[in-house]
């Protein structure tokens, strides 16, 4: 008996079934979600990224930041993410509607970045962190992204340019971020997943009632 067609049919059936169950069925629900209208501000969440932040997402992807950083906050009972202040609530599918590509990450060798735009809104902090993380956090294992910056020695009596990082970053040199670094920082500043959504209320119920930007719960 020729079993080859049986192997083909069996494999095909298994792959078709799992494709339907894990890809098609969820696609019909979470894949068709739309951005939520925030009643108080009239803005949509998540907002699509434009300009520098959009380019920054590609810089994030190209440097492989997702190798060490995740962009997913777990619920309160399941790990210390919310206790660490990485988010006010867990992340859900709606948070990634505007991402291209979605970089949720899988390994943490550094903090989660879902809400880094809220935790660290300062651009200079991010630029210094990228240039030399150990300036800000001694003992950090983050690589130095010196190639995202132009580093020029400062001559006698020459003032550093306006765009340069603070002098303490590299004494005797001016460190000017390249457009990629600026875009990446704009992207990081846009990372925030703190609008309470129906599927992801704030863990403390009273906070939901008091939340200014809470949308009406779905029926």
């Amino acid at each position: 008996m020729n079993q080859t067609p049986l192997i083909f049919l069996g494999s095909f059936a298994a792959m078709a079934a799992s494709f339907w169950g894990l890809v098609v069925a969820p696609q019909n629900t979470i894949g068709r979600q739309q951005a939520t209208l925030i009643q108080d501000t009239g803005a949509y969440y998540p907002a699509s990224r434009t300009g520098s932040a959009e380019a920054g997402a590609q810089v994030y992807r190209a440097q492989g930041c997702a190798e060490c950083h995740t962009q997913q906050v777990r619920p309160k009972g399941q790990g210390g993410d919310i206790d660490r202040g990485w988010g006010r609530r867990r992340t859900v599918a709606e948070d990634y509607l505007a991402d291209q590509p979605v970089q949720i990450g899988a390994l943490r060798l550094g903090p989660d970045l879902s809400n880094i735009g809220r935790r660290q809104p300062d651009a200079t902090y991010h630029l210094q962190n990228l240039y030399n993380s150990r300036l800000l956090k001694p003992g950090s294992l983050m690589p130095r992204y010196t190639y995202l910056f132009d580093v020029r020695p400062l001559g006698e009596g020459v003032k550093p340019s306006e765009a340069a990082l603070p002098a303490a970053t590299e004494p005797g040199f001016e460190v000017i971020p390249k457009p990629e670094a600026i875009a990446l920082v704009a992207y990081l500043q846009s990372l925030a997943a703190d609008v309470p959504l129906f599927s992801a209320p704030f863990p403390i119920a009273k906070t939901n009632a008091a939340a200014v930007v809470a949308p009406a719960p779905k029926q």
């Binding site: 020729n2 079993q3 080859t4 192997i7 494999s11 298994a14 792959m15 079934a17 799992s18 494709f19 169950g21 894990l22 890809v23 969820p26 979470i30 894949g31 068709r32 979600q33 992807r61 190209a62 440097q63 492989g64 930041c65 190798e67 060490c68 995740t70 997913q72 777990r74 399941q78 790990g79 210390g80 660490r84 867990r90 992340t91 599918a93 948070d95 990634y96 509607l97 291209q100 590509p101 979605v102 970089q103 949720i104 990450g105 899988a106 390994l107 943490r108 060798l109 550094g110 993380s133 150990r134 956090k137 003992g139 294992l141 690589p143 130095r144 992204y145 010196t146 190639y147 599927s199």
Partner: protein, 487 residues
């Protein structure tokens, strides 16, 4: 010297003839695999060192950690393991079917195209063009080349299979053929839905996880199991104990591995049911490992004592052990009592290394030695190289897996403890990462042994062909042939 056992009948082909027909394709695939193993492990060693010496070579974007790490995985999975898998497919289908390899030129073309694709992909990842999805970082154009190389090799394999004389299928056939069906499907689903025409939102990550999980279980693991079942009777000297058990394990793998994709996304931004379905399927994968272990133990239990040992037997033993341990630890990682501690730690990286180097790496290396000793020079398995490869490989893979699994478990507690600053929590893993770097070094050395043994064997066996080729190139009459003709 009875050679009738190697010759089926007056009209049948001898092993030697079948071996010879596979030479070119298998040669390119195996040497390519060994080369990519060395390159991949160089990248891996570099990435591991960069983890604990973060300022190393920071001026060069090509070797920044976030680029070198995915390049390493790509080189290992697609450059190293897949190529030995493809060589096993071609050679085992030809040998089991008792037929010459069909369309060998196509197979050779496919092998070359595959290597070109991996090279382009690895360089593009290091150049900053990665897709961003785990294990699927190869950019789309290199992936198309890969699919093209696959198509040529698969065509040769299927035509060979159709032309087979021995019509009954052996267990290896099931695994190898289902792997051949799975690969283009996985590439299509992964790339189309996450890269080319991406789905909206986190469904991209689901498609990426579908790809990564499929490549691990339905491509690499299936190829390794197919090769393992081929080598098992050779190691024991008796037929495989139970075809039915192997079938049970095969269908368990094919059905359950498909559904276990989302178990890697525990804690992730997906509705509860999607992740639970993946976890349930992952638990059922234990059946595949248990069936294989049952067959392994029952077959080797009956092993004839005093038979000459198949040189690859040690590889098959260690690889089988790692397969079972990997399956069990994967299931452990999904249990609700420990999964919050293990998610996002090096634990899962450790299991990935256990699967790639401990399980698939070892079994496929054993298969590579077996195949090359048949197709090229039997002396490949003589001497110190194979032993050196084995022991360095065992210690290297074991050390990395041990370090990452232990490190992940130990550090998971500090990761979830808000009182410990993240920087300090991560620093606590450094000693484990250092252990792993040593493991990478040992693995690199083992693969250097492998490459050396292979190259020497291939060069030795093809002395005649190379001389003829050189003579043809230079337009000089082949002195070697002339002297043989006169002898």
């Amino acid at each position: 010297m009875a050679s009738t056992s190697q010759q089926s009948s007056a009209t049948g082909l001898s092993d030697e003839q079948i071996n010879r027909s596979c030479r070119a394709a298998v040669g390119i695939l195996l040497i390519g695999a060994a080369t990519w193993a060395v390159i991949g492990l160089l990248l891996g060693l570099l990435s591991s060192i960069k983890m604990h010496v973060p300022g190393l070579w920071d001026l060069c974007p090509w070797v920044s950690y976030g680029r070198v790490r995915p390049a390493f995985f790509t080189a290992i999975i697609f450059g190293f393991l897949s190529q030995i898998g493809l060589a096993s497919v071609l050679w085992m289908i030809a040998r089991l079917g008792r037929v010459l390899l069909a369309m060998p030129a196509l197979a050779v073309g496919g092998a070359v195209l595959w290597n070109v694709a991996v090279l382009v992909g690895v360089l593009q990842i290091m150049g900053g063009m990665s897709t961003g999805f785990p294990l699927m970082e190869m950019p789309r154009h290199a992936a198309s080349l890969l699919l093209g190389g696959y198509t040529l090799v698969a065509l040769s394999a299927f035509v060979t299979h159709r032309a087979r004389v021995e019509r009954n299928l052996y267990i290896s056939h099931w695994f190898l053929i289902s792997a051949l069906f799975a690969f283009p499907w996985l590439m299509s689903v992964g790339y189309m839905l996450a890269v080319v025409e991406p789905l909206r939102g986190v469904m991209q990550s689901v498609a990426g996880a579908y790809f990564a999980n499929g490549v691990l279980h339905l491509w690499i693991a299936a190829l390794a199991l197919g090769a393992a079942y081929y080598l098992l009777p050779k190691c024991a000297g008796v037929p495989t104990h139970s075809r039915q058990t192997a079938a049970f394990g095969f269908w368990a793998l094919v059905i359950c591995a498909n559904w276990s994709a989302t178990s890697q996304l525990i804690g992730g931004p997906l509705p509860r049911w999607i992740i639970s379905a993946g976890i349930s399927a992952k638990w059922l994968l234990l059946l595949s490992a248990a069936a294989y272990a049952a067959n392994y133990l029952q077959t080797t239990h009956k092993a004839k004592s005093g038979t000459q040992r198949e040189p690859a037997h040690a590889f098959v033993f260690f690889g089988s052990l790692c397969y079972c341990i990997w399956t069990l630890l994967e299931i452990l990682g999904t249990l609700p009592s420990v999964s919050p501690r293990l998610t996002f730690t090096l634990y899962h990286q450790g299991l990935l290394h256990l699967a790639l180097f401990g399980f698939a790496g070892m079994i496929l290396s054993g298969a590579a030695y077996h195949i090359s000793s048949q197709v090229f020079d039997a002396s490949i398995v003589k001497g110190g190289f194979i032993r050196g490869h084995f022991f360095l490989g065992v210690f290297g893979a074991g050390l990395i897996a041990f370090a990452y699994v232990l490190g992940g478990y130990a550090q998971g507690a500090t990761y979830n403890d808000p009182a410990v600053p993240m920087t300090d929590a991560v620093r606590g893993v450094v000693k484990f990462i250092g252990m792993a770097s040593l493991g990478y070094l040992l693995l690199l050395l083992s693969q250097l042994f492998f490459l050396t043994a292979l190259v020497r064997g291939v060069l030795g066996a093809t002395a005649q062909e190379r001389a003829a080729f050189c003579a043809w190139c230079c337009g000089v009459p082949d002195a070697g042939n002339k002297s043989r003709a006169q002898a």
